[in-house]
Symmetry: C2
Subunit: 166 residues, 2 copies
DNA sequence: AGCAATAATTGTTGACGTCAATAGTTGTTG
DNA sequence: CAACAACTATTGACGTCAACAATTATTGCT
């Protein structure tokens, strides 16, 4: 017996005035009319590319996110990783476990708070990041192939502005 | 007994020359140093935003993608949806099932091939797209808040160039 | 007629997000 | 200072969902 897949989909708003549909309205112009949705779609593609190049090392994008963050901060509480990367605290546990098993990171006790643990990159972790960085850049180059150098910089700058709001 | 979580992560490449690590190398500059990864991250955020506004109608982003695509093509084989949207054929089945249950789309038999089915937007589907379009634009406006109108256009143009490669 | 290729579909498996519960630790406050 | 609330990391359970393999019906090739 087929269980209903999402929890009972239903259209809430009903329209009193069923205006005629105009095929030239902006919302009718195909998949990529909206910047936000376009961004989502490209993000998917980028993520998939990164995943394929990462999988040869046995890690996934989530692990990479942790490593990447640690590269910029030289030590972070797990709590910090959770909030900054947007993963559940319980997810961080497993990720750091995996990284630790590979000697890419290390858990150190916090001096001022015995509850917290500080996750730091090991030397091996830094080497790993350096080595995979080239592969990552190749993926990005592939993705941004239609743009020239100046356009890529412009894009990066614009994206950074969007990313840097809390 | 704790089962190993991913299938045994392992670093393949080993380095013979352990060069010293320079903290100013580009790959050490934190999370958003790479455009591709930054794109992935923003895509995630954008997707989450879209999902929250969609969830009031019981649909998710994938459903929206199908509707959006159909809006631009006036009828598509499921196979076509699969390849163009990048979802597995088996995923399309469920998505179209859901949309059909809401009378937003309709499966019609293909005249020349009895294996294929043509998915088309119903009138209700078009109305749904029109109604949700405004909400979608609000989401995008929110996301692109730090950019002015000209910059948004520039960003959209750049992203389109990237998206329009096969 | 026989056989490979294709479209939609089903089933299965593993990852993932969410939520609740716990142990150890800290800070607060009555 | 003792009781209690808040917080950190962790574990466990549950439902959802996406990727992959296998199946069925149909088509095209030869």
């Amino acid at each position: 017996m087929p269980v209903p897949r999402p929890r009972e989909p239903a259209i809430t708003r009903q329209h009193a005035t069923p205006k005629p549909i105009d095929a030239d309205e902006p919302w009718m112009r195909g998949l990529h009319a909206d910047t936000g949705y376009l961004l989502y779609r490209l993000g998917l593609r980028s993520g998939q590319l990164f995943n394929t190049f990462l999988q040869e090392s046995g890690l996934r994008l989530r692990h990479y996110a942790v490593l990447r963050y640690l590269a910029g901060s030289a030590g972070a509480l797990q709590r910090e990783l959770s909030t900054r990367l947007g993963y559940d605290p319980s997810a961080i546990v497993g990720l750091v476990d995996d990284l630790e098993k590979l000697d890419l990171t290390e858990r150190r006790p916090s001096p001022d708070d015995r509850r917290s643990k500080i996750v730091v990159l090991t030397e091996k972790g830094r080497i790993f990041l350096r080595d995979t960085d080239e592969a990552g850049r190749r993926v990005t180059n592939d993705l941004l192939e239609p743009l020239d150098a100046g356009e890529r910089d412009a894009l990066h700058a614009l994206l950074l502005r969007i990313a840097d709001q809390p």
